[in-house]
Amino acid sequence: MTQPNVTLRGPEVPNTPGSLDPVFTVEDLSVFYGDYEAVRNVDMMIGRREITAMIGPSGCGKSTVLRCFNRMNDLIPGAHIKGKILYHEEDLYGDHVDPIEVRRRIGMVFQKPNPFPKSIYDNVAYGPRVNGMKKNMDTVVEEALNKAALWDEVKDKLKQNALSLSGGQQQRLCIARAIAVKPEVILMDEPCSALDPIATTKIEDLMQELRQEYTILIVTHNMQQAARVSDRTAFFTADVDSAGVRHGRLVEFDQTTRIFTKPSDKRTEDYITGRFG
C-alpha cells in the first residue's frame, strides 16, 4: 500500500477538467423540496479516486446535493431534481434506474454515527446480506473492518453490541459497513462533527487510505479538514432572490490548493478566511 503524501498531492492533480476522470458529472442541477428550490444550477464533476470536499455556510444545501448522488432524497416526500447527474455517462435519475441499485454502488456515512442495535459483526454483514451475499461472510467482515482500521480494536468482541463502542469507533464501524458492500463511491456528511480530535484524525487518516480504492465526497464545516484531506473543493453559499427566498448555489469549484491559496471569488476568500458565515 502506498504512503499517501498530502503535501505533494495538490500540484499533481492538473486543474483542467479534461484530465479529471469523472465518476459523476453534474449538469445544471437544481433540487426542490416540494415547491422550494433549495439549491439551484450546480455544475461540477467528481473525479475518480479523488476526495472532493463540499464546504459552505449552514443551510446552503451541501447535504441536499450530497444526498442526490445516492438518491437518498427520493425518500423525502416531494423532493425532486431538475438538471442531470451522470454516473459514468448514465443518467442517475433516468427512468430505468433503480435507486436501490444506486445505493449499492454509492455508499453513505452520516453525520451522527448510526450503527444498528445489533452486534458489530451483524452491522458489517448487513449490507452484504441484503445484497444476497451468503458465502465467506467472515472474510468479508474482517476485510471491511480492516479497511476501516477497526479490526484490531474489535476482533475479540465481534458478537458485542455495536452501541457499546465509542463514538469514533461507531463511526469507523459505519464506514466499515459501507465498505462491506464494495461500493465505488462513499458519500460522507460531516462524518467527524460528533467526534473528538483524536477520533477525527483517525478518520482523516482512514480517508487517505480509502482514497486508493474509492471515490469520496465529504461535506465538512471544518475548513482545515477540507484543506488537509481533499483534492478538490466545492464552495457553496446561499443567495436571497428578489422574492426573499434563500437558494443554495455553487460559488466555486476547483483544486483544493487553489481554493485555499488563491480563490477566484471574493466570497470564497471571505469564507475561508473566516470573514463570513
Partner: protein
C-alpha cells in the same frame, strides 16, 4: 408584587438563592399523584387478598391431586368434579387461536402504518383502529355466534358445534389486533429515522429495512404489546361465553364447544352459588389460577425481553 419584582431583577450577590415563596401547588399535586398510584397498587393487593382466603379454603376441601390430576370438570354438578384441565386447555387453545390471528395481522398493520402509510392515511387509520378497540366485546361475541360460526360451518370440511372454540378464538384475535397494532406502531415510530436511512443507504428495500432494522429495534415495545394482548385474550369473557359456550369438555378439537376459565367464573359467579359453598370457593380458586398464569406469563416475557436486550443493546 412590586417587592418580588424588584428582588427578581436585583443583580449580583445580594439576591438570595432561597425559594422566594413556598410552592404549595407542587406539594399538593405530588400527594394526589401518589394517591392515584397507590389506588391501583391497593386494588391489586386487595384482589390478591380476596382471592387468597377462599382459595386456601378450597384446597382444604379439594386436594391438589384432584384439581390438577383429573380431566373432568363440573363443580356445580352432583357429584361435583374438580379436574381443572378442561378449562385450562380451553383457555390456552382459544388464546392460541387469537394470537395466531392477531400477531401477524397486528404487526402487518403496524408495519404498514409506521413504514408505508403517508401521514394523511395514518391520521385516518389510527383513530379507526382505536375505535375498533372500543367496540364492546359482547358485539364480537354475537358476531362470532350468529355470523362467523354459520359461515365456517358452510366452508370447513369438519363439523363445528354451534358454539365452538374456533370462531370464539378468531374473534378474540380480531378484538386484540388493535392492541398489537397500535402499541407496536408506537414502538416502531419511536425508532430513529437515522437507522432507517442507514439501512436504505446500504441498498436495502423498504421491506428489508422494516423487518431487519425497525422491528428488532422496536422489539421490547412490540413484545410488551403482544403480552398485553395475550393477557387480554386469556381473560376475555363475553366473546368466549357467547361463542364457545359453557360446557366443560376435555378436548383439543377447536370445532367443539368448550368453557374457558373466564367463562366458568362468569357463569358460576352469576349463578346462585351460595357464599361459603364449595362451588363458591371454586370460583376463587380458578380466579387465582388465571391470575397466576397471567402473572407468570408477564414475568417470563419480561425476562425474555431483558435477555434479548443484553444481546442487542
Amino acid at each position: 408584587m412590586a417587592a418580588g419584582h424588584n428582588r427578581a431583577t436585583a443583580p449580583g450577590p445580594n439576591r438570595s438563592l432561597a425559594r422566594s415563596r413556598p410552592r404549595y401547588g407542587e406539594a399538593a399535586i405530588k400527594v394526589l399523584l401518589l394517591a392515584a398510584a397507590l389506588v391501583s397498587i391497593a386494588t391489586t393487593l386487595g384482589i390478591v387478598a380476596a382471592l387468597l382466603e377462599p382459595t386456601i379454603e378450597f384446597f382444604s376441601e379439594v386436594s391438589f391431586g384432584e384439581f390438577f390430576g383429573s380431566t373432568s370438570w363440573g363443580p356445580l354438578f352432583s357429584p361435583p368434579a374438580f379436574g381443572v384441565w378442561p378449562i385450562i386447555v380451553a383457555t390456552l387453545e382459544i388464546t392460541l387461536i387469537a394470537v395466531i390471528v392477531a400477531i401477524p395481522l397486528g404487526l402487518a398493520a403496524a408495519i404498514y402504518l409506521s413504514e408505508y402509510a403517508t401521514t394523511r392515511v395514518r391520521k385516518i387509520f389510527k383513530p379507526v383502529l382505536e375505535v375498533l378497540a372500543g367496540i364492546p366485546t359482547v358485539v364480537f361475541g354475537f358476531f362470532a355466534f350468529s355470523f362467523v360460526t354459520p359461515l365456517l360451518q358452510d366452508i370447513l370440511p369438519f363439523t363445528l358445534d354451534p358454539r365452538n372454540a374456533l370462531s370464539a378464538g378468531l374473534l378474540v384475535g380480531v378484538m386484540i389486533i388493535p392492541i398489537v397494532a397500535s402499541l407496536s406502531e408506537d414502538a416502531m415510530s419511536a425508532v430513529p429515522r437515522s437507522l432507517r436511512e442507514g439501512s436504505f443507504a446500504l441498498g436495502a428495500s423498504k421491506m428489508t429495512t422494516s423487518v431487519s432494522v425497525v422491528l428488532p429495534a422496536a422489539f421490547s415495545g412490540i413484545v410488551a404489546a403482544i403480552i398485553l394482548a395475550i393477557s387480554r385474550a386469556a381473560g376475555e369473557t363475553m366473546i368466549v361465553a357467547i361463542a364457545a359456550g359453557f360446557k366443560s369438555i376435555f378436548t383439543f378439537n377447536p370445532g367443539s364447544e368448550m368453557a374457558t376459565m373466564a367463562a366458568f367464573i362468569a357463569s358460576a359467579g352469576s349463578g346462585d352459588a351460595p357464599v361459603g359453598s364449595i362451588a363458591y370457593k371454586t370460583i376463587f380458586a380458578v380466579g387465582s389460577l388465571l391470575f397466576i398464569m397471567t402473572f407468570a406469563m408477564n414475568w417470563f416475557s419480561a425476562r425474555m425481553v431483558k435477555k434479548y436486550r443484553e444481546v442487542y443493546e
